[in-house]
Amino acid sequence: MPPLLVLASPDEPNNPWFSWAYVRQNIDGLTEALQQHVSLTLAAVAVAAVLAIPLAIVAYRTPWLSGPILSASAVLYTIPSLALYAFLGPLLGLKFSTALIGLVLYALLAIVRNTLTGLRQVPADVRDAAAGMGYGRLGLLWRVELPLALPSIMVGLRIATVSTVALVTVCALVGFGGFGTVILTGFNNNFYHPQIMAGTIGCVALALILDTVLIGLTRLVTPWRRGA
């Protein structure tokens, strides 16, 4: 990503906390940061979901695996992102995929945990009733257990998305920080307030927007819960 231009002089006597002039003049750089931030977030959550949901199903079906999977998740969350990128950076280089791998690792866990919680919350008598109606293992999973776990899975996706948006800022370390790079460049550029604020607002707004979209999506895919 090319360095963001700071056209307004940071030395100008007023260093306001927000400036439309800054946003207008740097709209290209900010758009690019937005694109990077969104693409990293969406890619990370999508890849994580594709890996995590089957993993959670496996853990659900083979109970002895769920212990190790959950404690592995607890251990990984204890590892600070900066330390994780301290390993990934030198090993994989300063690339988009390096940033992505770290994000996927962290996002994976929120989704695995919530999917597993959702599956475990399926009442035993519901499962019995479905089995009694002649559902096989796959049918039970696909038609009964997963739909009932869906609200919980969606919560997992929301947690993963919102925290990934915040975490992308740390990827500035490996050169793909989206708005995080905007914030840090502003800081290192004579503490230029409008740039720091633009990056911060961008981050928080993106998190809230994506969260709202996912809430809407949850309503869409769980029509039976709308009345409640």
Binding site: Y77, L91, A172, L184, T200
Partner: protein, 249 residues
């Protein structure tokens, strides 16, 4: 894989140099700095979060507020607060870093204090009232002792979280162990690799060790009969609140 071993080897060589430990900005000094930032932030967060959480739990109100605080702090990147705080009236240096860290330590402390008091068996509460205990007595003699396991959970979560997040202070040259990593990145990804990975290792070991120690403490302060019930069932409010670290740091 070979690359990993090469880098690990380099990291161990770096760690094996006594000067890297005892320099003015060596591992020992950085660790002290790190723990000072994290410890102060944690203390401030406790002073703010526990009274509020216990009070809200006692009133049985404010659940949505606690959840909102937890969700909002999840959306705000640490890097943003770390860069904004030094530029406000707080000014550059230690207080700004501590303030940023303290804010992220509040949600787990607040949520668990609230929950701990909230989850006290209503019958126990009734019994205390029936015995003629005043509101103050109920809080200090009944609810607070029963909330200790939750307070311990919150403490452990917040402590590990703060120690982990303090590494990010290095982004704004704020000190702590993260500096070893960012200095390494400053040297370039290849020539700094030994230092980057060594720094990463130290931070990981510190966080895992702290989490392990606090897990033991948590167990010790939890009365035996409560250990099983806590591990087994947590309520619905509970599910919406951060009881363990549930976000990347």
């Amino acid at each position: 894989m070979d690359l990993l071993f090469t880098y690990l080897h380099q990291a161990f060589i770096w760690l094996n140099d006594p000067l890297n430990w005892t320099n003015p900005d060596g591992i020992l000094a950085r660790t002290a700095e790190h723990l000072e930032i994290a410890g102060t932030a944690l203390a401030i967060a406790i002073v703010v979060a526990w009274p509020v959480g216990i009070w809200l739990g006692h009133l049985g109100r404010g659940g949505p507020l606690v959840v909102a605080v937890a969700n909002l702090t999840r959306a705000v990147p640490t890097v943003a607060l770390l860069t904004i705080f030094p530029l406000t009236f707080i000014g550059f240096g230690f207080p700004a870093i501590v303030a940023a860290m303290a804010i992220f330590a509040v949600p787990p402390l607040l949520a668990n204090a609230y929950l701990g008091v909230r989850e006290v068996d209503p019958e126990v509460r009734d019994a205390a009232t029936g015995m003629g205990m005043s509101g103050r007595q109920r809080v200090f003699d009944v609810e607070l002792p029963l909330a200790v396991p939750y307070l311990a959970t919150g403490f452990r979560t917040a402590a590990v979280q703060v120690v982990a997040t303090t590494t990010l202070a290095a982004f704004v040259n704020g000190g702590g162990l993260g500096m070893i990593i960012t200095r390494g990145f400053g040297l370039g990804i290849n020539s700094g690799a030994d230092q980057i990975i060594a720094g990463g290792l130290i931070v990981i070991v510190l966080c895992l060790a702290l989490d392990g120690i606090l897990a033991v403490v948590q167990r010790l302060v939890t009365p035996r009969p409560l250990r099983r019930s806590l591990a087994r069932g947590r309520s619905a409010v509970d599910a919406a609140l951060p009881s363990r670290i549930e976000q990347p740091l």
